[in-house]
């Protein structure tokens, strides 16, 4: 094996792993500080005002002990941290289940939603961006750009509400929310039902994501069409089609990869809002609930997992860059 050629990549991966570990520690500390400093009283949030009033002092003390109110924060964090390192993410106070299994279930739900949105917004945004960049200044560019700017300046939750109004309230062809029909046994939920419930949240996320990717791709495309090598290709009598196929697409691929993987974080952020509006039981919604009820173990778990996911996306983008771009791939071999 020719280790020399890959040593650069290996070094990069090792460096990245060290980076992610320190990043995750920082993220968990920050989330913990925030959730500890939050004015939400987890016990009160858990049993509600009425429950608080009716509860005996002994029971209240038991609950407070369960929620760890009286343990010093540093000790609590340390307990969580040592557990986490050994693979135990603790139990969610809210769901009364191990955090790992809560995250697993929610993550799978969100994953379907986010992957659909990610692929759709990536493909369509890429396509629209290229068309707009190629026909810069023409009507089609103006239409695409106008649409993207409009969407980009639209709040996600607002768009979600509008879609619900149109498709669920007026047309009544799609459900208002949740991921399965109400009042149906879990075993009887068909795939079609799941897809139906997925359409609106995925559509909202995609529509929002497209705008961003379109605008970025358009800018890059305009830059590329102004490059000297495009001019030279024209001077050599190449047809527009051949220039686009052989030079423009090839060169836009690199920024597109970066953009696509960087957009993971935005889709993730968007999914929090979308899941909230559609009551879609995903990671985003779980994060909001955990935050509002002071469920520190769950919140920390979700924060760490999502940070890892976003970081991983960027890492993949950088590695792909090295594979696609000959200047990086072959650069080291010719130094």
């Amino acid at each position: 094996m020719d280790i020399g050629r890959y040593s650069g990549i290996l070094k990069y991966v090792v460096k990245s792993i060290i980076k992610i570990i320190s990043l995750l520690i920082a993220v968990s500390i920050l989330s913990f500080v925030l959730v500890s400093a939050s004015p939400v009283d987890p016990v009160r949030a858990y049993i509600g005002e009425v429950g608080m009033a009716n509860m005996s002092v002994e029971n209240l003390a038991k609950l407070e002990a369960y929620f760890g109110i009286n343990t010093p924060p540093i000790e609590r964090y340390w307990n969580w941290f040592t557990g986490f390192v050994q693979g135990d993410m603790g139990s969610s106070l809210l769901y009364r289940q191990p955090v790992a299994s809560v995250i697993h279930v929610k993550f799978m739900n969100s994953m379907v939603l986010m992957t659909t949105a990610w692929i759709f917004s990536g493909l369509l945004g890429f396509l629209f961006g290229i068309i707009a960049g190629l026909y810069r200044g023409r009507w089609i560019d103006k239409a695409i750009k106008g649409y993207s700017l409009l969407i980009a300046s639209m709040p996600t939750f607002w768009l979600a509400l509008v879609l619900v109004m149109i498709f669920s309230v007026w047309l009544q062809i799609l459900p208002i929310g949740l991921s399965v029909p109400i009042g149906v046994n879990a075993a009887e939920v068909s795939i079609l039902d799941s897809i139906k419930h997925l359409i609106l949240p995925a559509l909202t996320l995609s529509v929002i994501g497209i705008a961003n990717i379109t605008l970025h791709t358009r800018e890059k495309m305009i830059d590329i069409m102004g490059e000297d090598y495009i001019l030279f290709a024209k001077a050599r009598g190449k047809s527009n089609l051949s220039i686009i196929r052989h030079h423009a697409l090839r060169n836009i691929l690199l920024p597109a990869i970066t953009l696509q993987f960087a957009s993971i974080s935005e889709i993730f952020g968007g999914s929090v809002l979308v899941e909230q509006v559609f009551s879609y039981p995903g990671l985003g919604k779980a994060a909001v609930s955990a935050g509002l009820s002071g469920d520190a173990p769950l919140l920390l778990g979700i924060a760490v997992i999502s940070a890892a996911l976003v970081f991983f996306g960027n890492l993949v983008a950088n590695l792909l860059y090295g594979i696609v771009d000959p200047r990086i791939r072959r650069g080291s071999a010719y130094e």
């Binding site: 030279f232 051949s242 090839r250 000959p326 200047r327 072959r330």
Partner: protein, 311 residues
């Protein structure tokens, strides 16, 4: 040796290039960067257009090839082999009979292998053979075809760019600053390929800022100033300052190291604030009131000059 004894390969008359710009919102201004330019290249001739950097010389090359940017408009007449060219005809000829040799490796797609680019992504056997022959001719190793542009040395890149030009059988090469950053000896060597090409009865239009190089290799020199050619003279006229016609050419001559290195004060006028009449007027020691009128080009001693005081 003058252009008059030859059949023309390229003849440009009254070429003007105008940029349309929007400044401060929606106010539209036209910026004339090339005005009434005349230049010709005969069979077997290497003609150099010499002008200082940033004076818009490259636009001349782009105008001939019909690859000006969209907000740019060209007027005037261009003949190629005695045929008046239309924009459609230019499209047919460019890359085939009229080829561009650009200045640097930046004009190659950084993500495509050199061989594929030279062949314009075609893969036929005959083209492969032609490419291999040309690589041999220009002393490029055959494995160059599998390299990416960033892996080429400066010299290799220049020769690869030449190969792209020679893949078809051109009659006219437009070389736009083909030797940037090379000292005179190396540049002369790089230019020998162009000289050979011209000597076979073809034409070369060399666009450069390097007057010393132009004097070494060209047959005729067109001096480019503020968007136009102020003088077109056989290279022999540069032997002495007295055989030159235009005051700017004379100033250039005196600024050469071997002629005393006399700097010349002032700068070229920017296209936006061009003086009336002769563009050189404000810097000219011979300025008179007539210079602000329309300056016609006149032929003096087999050279052409745009100056009413020229003798």
């Amino acid at each position: 040796m003058t252009c008059m004894n030859h059949k023309h390969i390229l003849q440009i008359k009254n070429l003007s290039v105008t940029f349309t710009q929007y400044e401060q919102g929606l106010r539209k201004t036209d910026l004339r960067v090339i005005r009434n330019l005349n230049v010709s290249v005969g069979e077997g001739e290497l003609v150099a257009v010499v002008g200082s950097s940033g004076s818009g010389k490259s636009l001349l090359a782009h105008a001939i090839l019909g690859i000006l940017p969209q907000n740019c408009d060209a007027e005037g007449n261009i003949w190629f082999q005695e045929e008046l060219l239309s924009p459609e005809r230019i499209k047919e000829l460019r890359g085939k009979k009229i080829v561009l040799v650009p200045q640097s490796v930046n004009y190659l797609d950084p993500l495509e292998k050199v061989g594929k680019q030279v062949r314009k992504e075609q893969n036929e056997k005959s083209l492969r053979r032609k490419q291999e022959e040309l690589f041999d001719f220009y002393k490029l190793p055959q494995k160059t075809a599998d390299l990416y542009p960033f892996e080429l040395s400066g010299g290799m890149a220049r020769r690869v760019l030449l190969t792209t030009a020679m893949m078809e059988s051109p009659r006219l090469i437009i070389a736009d600053e083909p030797t940037p950053g090379l000292h005179l000896e190396a540049a002369k060597k790089a230019m020998s390929h162009f000289r050979e090409f011209a000597d076979k009865g073809n034409g070369v239009l060399l666009i450069t800022h390097d007057i010393e190089l132009a004097l070494e290799v060209a047959d005729r020199i067109a001096v480019f100033y503020a968007g136009t050619t102020v003088e077109e003279a056989p290279v022999a006229d540069f032997q002495s300052v007295d055989t030159l016609r235009h005051p700017y050419t004379k100033a250039l001559w005196r600024a050469l190291p071997q002629h005393g290195f006399h700097p010349f004060p002032g700068n070229q006028p920017y296209a936006k604030d061009m003086p009336n009449g002769c563009p050189f007027g404000p810097r000219c020691p011979q300025l008179t009131s007539e210079c602000e009128g329309n300056i016609q080009e006149q032929t003096i001693r087999f050279g052409r000059v745009r100056c009413i005081h020229a003798k």
